[in-house]
């Protein structure tokens, strides 16, 4: 064993969960508040550098630096809602432009400050590797798979089994009915942005140890999140998993059989094709016209 097929299978799965983890925050925020947070990639990149800075400039141990990063980036997400999003809420183009501006500002800030060398790496949580179907997979990737699946499950429980989660979903389904039982829309949106951003940080801290932190990851991550969520239909967990699997395997298959340089084209192609053929995504239902108040 250990042939191309086995490697496609194993790395297809691993890559799918990597994409799932990458997109989780973006998808959560969109599903709960309707805001497409185009700062997602910027926040992901920021988490990597922030965690690195907290470790190497402040001297915190990794677990503490990671926890602080998740918290701070979560708060930053909430602050983004309060400052740039609140006044344009509901105007989709303005939401996209203003969050994208924040994302670009973060990414280009680090480029300007010279964070472009090969010094920036985060430690792997675990070392070593293991053989699966004759394919060598390092433990960090397996840990990422476990983390991605566990987080997806936990988020599902949170949004379906807790009062706060139900309230957030209620707000996303029918704002005026949610308001009439006392749920506040700004609170819900602030929390959605905060949670989604914190998840971007978790993804960054878990995934960035796989390589060096390079500036353009900020843009790649946004495109990946867009591809996966657009494909899956933007609002369901099942759709998100399906989207991750399709893009994840398509990337690995293209990389293995066509050539590594082509695998990145896959998610761009996915966005274009889905938007042209079925804009609501594979599982998405087209939204009914909102009732007037």
């Amino acid at each position: 064993m250990g042939g191309l097929l086995a490697s496609t299978l194993v790395y297809g799965l691993v890559n799918s969960v990597v994409l799932l983890l990458t997109s989780l925050g973006f998808s959560l925020t969109f599903g709960l508040s309707g805001v497409a947070n185009f700062a997602h990639g910027g926040l992901y990149l920021l988490s990597g550098f922030l965690c690195w800075l907290l470790m190497h400039r402040v001297g915190l141990p990794f677990p503490l630096a990671a926890a602080a990063t998740v918290l701070l980036v979560g708060l930053l997400g909430a602050a983004i809602y309060r400052t740039v999003l609140m006044s344009v809420r509901g105007i989709v183009l303005s939401e996209v432009i203003s969050t994208f501006a924040v994302g670009v500002a973060i990414v280009e800030f680090f480029r300007w400050k010279g964070f472009t060398t090969y010094d920036f790496t985060l430690p792997a949580l675990v070392d070593g590797s293991v053989d699966i179907l004759g394919v060598t997979v390092d433990w960090q990737r397996l840990l990422i798979v476990a983390l991605g699946l566990a987080l997806t499950g936990l988020l599902w429980l949170f949004t379906h089994r807790t009062m706060v989660g139900l309230a957030l979903r209620g707000m996303s389904q029918d704002e005026y009915t949610a308001l009439s039982v006392g749920i506040e829309s700004d609170w819900a949106a602030t929390l959605s942005l905060g949670l989604g951003s914190a998840l971007a940080a978790v993804a960054g801290i878990a995934l960035l140890p796989l390589g060096i932190i390079s500036i353009n990851i900020g843009y790649d991550v946004l495109l990946i999140a867009l591809a996966v969520t657009v494909l899956g239909g933007l609002e369901s967990t099942t759709g998100l998993i399906l989207g991750s699997l399709i893009v994840g395997f398509a990337m690995v298959i293209t990389g293995n059989y066509v050539g590594p340089r082509w695998s990145e084209v896959v998610y761009l192609a996915a966005i274009v094709i889905v938007l042209a053929v079925k804009p609501s995504g594979l599982l998405g239902k087209s939204k009914e016209l909102e009732d007037r108040v």
Binding site: S87, G90, D174, Y176, T177, L179, V181, E184, D291
Partner: protein, 247 residues
């Protein structure tokens, strides 16, 4: 309990509620009758705080201009500037028109969300009392609310509002589009709610089906008051009778 004084609501330049005053006393069931676009929904949404919310939202992004005027008092306290949440906390709960439910949630999740501001210890009791009021909901507990019929959705919507423990329940056209059988069921429910001590302000296009349960009614046209009185008094007015009592 509720006193509305000289209420005005403009959407851009269209007058939706025009200098309207009305009163609901503790323990009463009061009807608001009017044809389509008369301003019933705007009135109830304004009492519940949704219009204020919309106004603030529109103001932030510089969209549609909404102008509000007049006073809304609850037990003497002016509540016209309060958020929808603060009004729910004071016991003013709106059950919106067109049988609104959280479509992707089960019936029981819908009801649970109604108790969003209540202490969690109350949840079980609350659910039991809603199921007692609308027994058909028991069998539908695990069903997605979006799949229900109009009448079942209305029961869920009313149940959800009840879970918030209203002192004043605002019901916006609960009978709209329901079969006569379902209408009777909902009217029976409203009567039972009133018996539990909840004060009710209910809007309808046609007064006939809820005549037996109302103490008084107001008829509005183009956002303004036409007549008011007890059910019998309204029936005595020939114009009102033919327009709203479907004779």
């Amino acid at each position: 309990m509720l006193e509305v004084r000289d209420l005005m609501v403009f959407y851009e330049n269209a007058l939706a509620v025009n200098d309207l005053s009305l009163e609901v006393r503790q323990g009463e069931v009061v009807g608001v009758f009017g044809s389509n676009s008369a301003g019933k929904t705007t009135l109830l949404n304004t009492v519940a705080g949704l219009t204020l919310h919309l106004q603030q939202r529109e103001r932030r992004k510089g969209g549609m201009r909404i102008t509000l005027g007049g006073a809304i008092r609850l037990d003497g306290e002016e509540i016209g500037g309060l958020s929808p949440r603060a009004r729910v906390e004071r016991g003013v709960v709106l059950c919106r028109e067109r049988h609104p439910v959280f479509r992707d949630n089960t019936v029981e999740e819908n009801l649970t969300l109604g108790a969003y501001l209540r202490p969690s210890g109350e949840l079980k009791r609350g659910l039991e009392s809603v199921y007692e009021l609308f027994p058909p909901l028991v069998a539908l507990r695990k069903r997605k609310a979006g799949m229900l019929s109009g009448g079942e959705k209305e029961m869920v919507a009313i149940g959800t509002a009840l879970m918030a423990r209203p002192r004043l329940l605002l019901m916006d056209e609960p009978l709209l589009g329901l079969s006569p059988l379902m209408q009777a069921e909902v009217v029976r429910g409203a009567r039972a709610i009133a018996r539990r001590g909840v004060t009710i302000l209910i809007s309808e296009q046609y007064a006939r089906p809820i005549l037996p349960i109302i103490d008084r009614g107001y008829v509005i046209e183009n956002g303004a008051l036409v007549v008011s009185g007890t059910g019998a008094e309204l029936l005595d007015n020939p114009e009102v009778k033919s327009a709203y009592f479907g004779v």
